[in-house]
């Protein structure tokens, strides 16, 4: 997992754009695009939003995997803690 704060911000915004409440989807996508556009501008438009996302895709999949694993553990613990 990246320890670069800017990459982490994009990965988090990407995750939010796919997982946030339905009524927040547009705002979440805008937040992601704003972060991506900073990189596009920094590259003097040599790269597109799509290419930046493609570059970070494997890191994003790893983030999703780790979050799903954590969620599974949380659910299992919650079930164990529930009174019989």
């Amino acid at each position: 997992m990246s320890r670069n704060p800017e990459i982490e911000s994009i990965l988090e915004a990407w995750w939010q754009a796919e997982h946030c409440h339905h009524k927040d989807r547009f705002a979440a996508l805008q937040s992601l695009n704003t972060l991506l556009d900073k990189i596009v501008v920094r590259s003097d438009c040599r790269y597109t939003r799509d290419q930046v996302l493609d570059c970070l895709h494997s890191q994003y999949q790893e983030l999703r995997l780790q979050r799903r694993k954590s969620e599974r553990v949380r659910i299992a613990q919650s079930a164990q803690d529930r009174p019989q």
Binding site: R3, N4, E6, H19, H22, R25, F26, H57, Q61, R68
Partner: protein, 134 residues
């Protein structure tokens, strides 16, 4: 609470075939159902990642994703042309469009052309990865 898929489809068909229910209300129901399908799709993707089956399901992934995109385009088109009643959960046409865009993004990432190694290298340099947080 889990509701059997067949029961949901039955309820949906009842609503859609009822002439007394206004079209904007039907569109809201359809849009809510489509958003729930997208959520279920994301969850399934992640479950397949955890169980290590994702790569072996990649052809099925493209088929499911294509169908979801097609359904989303149909829902969005209906909403654009005939409107949508205010849904109880508060999502808007813009939220539907953003969700659809996220599916197109997934399609490009999983099934489209990928960056060259040189492009990835160039992009990563823009992040100043030489200065990690820790």
């Amino acid at each position: 609470m889990q509701i059997p898929a067949g029961r949901v489809e039955e309820l949906l068909a009842t609503i859609l075939n009822d002439p007394s229910i206004p079209a904007p209300v039907k569109h809201t129901v359809l849009a809510g159902f489509w958003l729930a399908q997208v959520d279920a799709f994301r969850l399934s993707e992640e479950e397949f990642m955890v169980t290590g089956k994702f790569e072996s399901m990649i052809d099925d992934h493209r088929v499911f994703l294509s169908n979801l995109i097609s359904d989303g385009e149909t829902v969005l088109d209906s909403v654009r042309k005939m409107g949508m009643a205010l849904p109880p959960t508060g999502f808007t046409e813009a939220d539907l469009k953003a969700t659809l865009e996220s599916l197109y993004n997934t399609m490009r990432r999983q099934h489209g052309p990928q960056n060259s190694a040189k492009t990835n290298e160039g992009i990563l340099q823009l992040f100043d990865v030489a200065k990690p947080r820790d």
